[in-house]
Amino acid sequence: MVQMTMAKALNEGLRAAMEHDPKVLLMGEDIGKLGGVFRVTDGLQKDFGEDRVFDTPLAESGIVGTAIGLAMRGYRPVCEIQFDGFVYPAYDQIVSQLAKMHARSRGLVKMPVVIRIPFGGGIGAVEHHSESPEAYFAHTAGLKVMACSNPVDAHTMIQQAIALDDPVIFFEPKRRYWEKAEVDPTTEPFPLEQARVVLPGDDLTLIAYGPMVKTCLDAASAAREEGRSLEVVDLRSLSPLDFPTVFASVRKTRRAVVVHEASSFVGLGAEVAARLSEELYFEMEAPVLRVTGYDVPYPASRVEEDFLPDLDRVLHAVDRSLAF
C-alpha cells in the first residue's frame, strides 16, 4: 500500500498494462522524454523504449487515425490528447472511424484503442484547456466513455480500459491529478463499467463523475453538519451508464441531483434525469435537479470559479430538492 497522486497512479497503471501485454503502445504529444505535460507517462519511454512509447507529430487526427491503423495491425494503442480542447481535430477519426469500425466490419475488426484526455477546469488555464467534452463521445455508439475520480480508480480503470477490445475515451480530471490516496495494486479491481456508491446516505443522491465526485463528497460532509445524510454515486463509466446502481440509490433516497462541470444543455445530467423519470416517476419526491457549468463557452480563468459547480451550488440544489 502506497500513497500516490492520481498522476502517479495512472503512470503505474500504464506501466502495469505495458508489462502485461507487449502489444500495448503509448503515443501522443510530448509523452516520451518529457513524460507528458502532466507527467502521467513519466519514465515510461526510458523503461519501455521508443518503439512502445513514442512522441507523435502535433496533429490529433493523425494520432487517432494512425492508432486505428495500429489497432488493425494487432496493437493496443493508448493515445494521449494533451488537453480536452485539443481533441476536436480528431473528432472524425473518433466518431466516424474508431467508433464504427467494429460494427461496420461485423465484429471482424477490433478497436482496442484508449484515448486519454485530461479534462475539466479549475486550474486557471488559458482557453481550450479546461473543457468537458464527454457528452459528445457518450452520444456516439461504439465508444465507451470512462471518467476516473480518484487515484485508486485511476490505477485500475486505465488497466481495465486498455484490456477492453472496444475503443475507450478515458477522461482524467486534471485538477485532481495531484490528489493523493493509498493505492494497493493487489486489491481486487472494481468492475470497470459499474457506478459506485462512494458515500452511503439516506436523504438524497448526488450523482457525479470525474472532478465533481470530490466536490460532492465535500458537499455531503458539509450537509452532514446540518443533519442531512447525502449519498454520493460516482458514475465512473459514462457509457455504458450503470443505471441499475443509480436507480437503486434513488429508489432509496427518492431525490437526486446530478453534478457535472460540462454545460447542462443535452449533457449527461439530462440523460440521467430522463432515465430517472422514466424509471422512478412515482417513487421520487422531487424532480431531478442539475448543477452544471452554464451554457456558455468556458470562461476566462479569473471567473472560472463562478462557472464551475462548487460546494455551495451543490448544497443550494440540495436545499431546493429537499424543499419539494
Binding site: T66, A67, M72, R73, S105, K144
Partner: protein, 366 residues
C-alpha cells in the same frame, strides 16, 4: 498561367504502342499481359452492371470507376499477397485484384451491409466514405509493420497502399498521413488517382502544382504515372511498393486519369464540364489501348477477346442474380456488433425493439 510540362510515366501510348522509360519497365509473360487485359474488361463489366442495377432501383447508389480501370488494376496487380490495401469507395478494380467478391461491393451500395468482406482475410480494408480518413489508417498500419520487423526483405517484406483522390489531397488527414509516414519512414505507397474532378470541383481548385510534387515538401519521392496505362501503373506501383517493403519509406504516386462517368449515380456532370473533355479522354481509354497492344504484339486474337467478353457477361449475370437475391438483413443485427460484447443498456434496448417488433408479428397473425 502557362501550363507546366509535367513528366508522365508511360509504357503504352494511347494507340497501344509500347514505349520505354528510363526508370520504369515491366517484363511480363504473354499470359500476364492477357490477364491484365482480362482484368480490365471484367472490372469494367462489373462497373457497368452495377450502374445498370442502380438505374433499375436495385442499388441505392453506385460510384462508377469508368475510366480508372488501368490505374486500379495496374496498382492492384502490383501488390504482393502480404501487402495491405486501404481503399476509398471507388476501388472496385483493386477489390477485384484482392479477390473480393463483387457481390460484396454491391451489398454496401444496396444497403444490406456497411462492410461485407473480411478485411483481414482479403488484406483489403473496408471502403471509407469520408474523404481521406483511410490514409491515416494505412499509415498507422504501416507503422505497425515496422514495429513487427516486417520490412526489409524484397520478397517477404510487407508494404501498404493507401488509395485516395485529387479531392482528398486537400484533406488535413491526407496531409497528416504524409507527415506521419515521413516521420516514421512507414512502408507505404500513397496512390492518388487524379481523375480531374471531385464531384464538380476541378483539380485546379485543390492544387496549383501537380499533385505528385506535393511529396517533395513532405520529404519523400513523388511520381506521376499515366493512370490510363495499365502497364505503367503496374510498373510504377510495383517500384514504389518495393521501395516501401525494403525499408526505404513512402512514395506518392499520382495516377493521372479521368473519371469518365459521373461522381456517383446521383451526380450530373453535364452541369459542370464540357462533353469535349470527355471525348478527348475517350481517345485515351485504358481498355482500348491494352487491346491495341495485344493485337499489335500478336498476343491475342479475336477468339481470345470473344472468350473474355463471354466471361464478362457470365460474371455480370452472376452478380446481377446475386444482387437481386440478396436478402435484407434481419433488423435486429443493428444491435449485434456495436461493441465486442453487448452492453447492458444496449441489451435492454435490443430487447425492447424485439418486443415491439414481435407485437406487430402477432397482430399480423390474427
Amino acid at each position: 498561367m502557362t501550363p507546366i510540362a509535367t513528366p508522365l510515366v508511360q509504357l503504352l501510348t494511347p494507340e497501344g504502342e509500347r514505349v520505354h522509360h528510363p526508370d520504369y519497365d515491366v517484363d511480363l509473360t504473354d499470359e500476364q499481359y492477357r490477364d491484365l487485359y482480362r482484368d480490365l474488361v471484367l472490372v469494367r463489366r462489373i462497373d457497368v452492371e452495377a450502374t445498370a442495377l442502380q438505374r433499375q432501383g436495385e442499388l441505392g447508389l453506385w460510384a462508377a470507376l469508368l475510366g480508372q480501370e488501368a490505374a486500379q488494376v495496374g496498382s492492384g496487380r502490383a501488390l504482393m499477397p502480404q501487402d495491405f490495401a486501404f481503399p476509398t469507395y471507388r476501388e472496385h478494380g483493386v477489390a477485384w485484384c484482392r479477390d473480393v467478391d463483387p457481390v460484396h461491393l454491391l451489398s454496401l451500395f444496396r444497403g444490406t451491409s456497411h462492410g461485407a468482406w473480411d478485411p483481414n482475410d482479403k488484406r483489403f480494408a473496408l471502403y471509407t466514405i469520408v474523404i481521406g480518413s483511410q490514409t491515416l489508417h494505412a499509415t498507422g498500419y504501416a507503422m505497425g509493420v515496422v514495429k513487427d520487423g516486417a520490412v526489409g526483405d524484397a520478397t517477404t517484406g510487407e508494404a501498404v497502399i493507401a488509395y485516395f483522390g485529387d479531392g482528398a489531397s486537400s484533406q488535413g488527414d491526407v496531409n497528416e498521413a504524409f507527415v506521419w509516414a515521413s516521420a516514421y519512414n512507414a512502408p507505404i505507397v500513397f496512390f492518388c488517382q487524379n481523375n480531374q474532378w471531385g464531384i464538380s470541383t476541378p483539380t485546379s481548385t485543390q492544387s496549383r502544382i501537380p499533385l505528385y510534387k506535393r511529396a517533395e515538401g513532405f520529404g519523400f519521392p513523388g511520381v506521376r504515372v499515366d493512370g490510363n496505362d495499365v502497364l505503367a501503373s503496374y510498373a510504377v506501383t510495383r517500384a514504389a511498393l518495393d521501395h516501401a517493403r525494403t525499408g526505404q519509406g513512402p512514395t506518392l504516386v499520382e495516377a493521372f486519369t479521368y473519371r469518365m462517368g459521373a461522381h456517383t449515380t446521383s451526380d450530373d456532370p453535364t452541369r459542370y464540364r464540357l462533353s469535349s473533355e470527355l471525348e478527348a479522354w475517350k481517345l485515351k481509354d485504358p481498355l482500348e489501348r491494352m487491346r491495341s497492344f495485344l493485337f499489335k504484339q500478336q498476343l491475342a486474337d479475336a477468339s481470345y477477346l470473344e472468350k473474355v467478353e463471354a466471361e464478362s457477361d457470365e460474371l455480370a449475370a452472376r452478380i446481377r442474380k446475386a444482387c437481386l437475391e440478396m436478402p435484407d438483413p434481419p433488423p435486429s443485427v443493428m444491435f449485434d456488433q456495436v461493441y465486442a460484447e453487448m452492453t447492458p443498456p444496449l441489451r435492454e434496448q435490443a430487447a425492447q425493439f424485439a418486443a415491439y417488433h414481435a407485437g406487430f408479428t402477432s397482430e399480423g397473425a390474427h
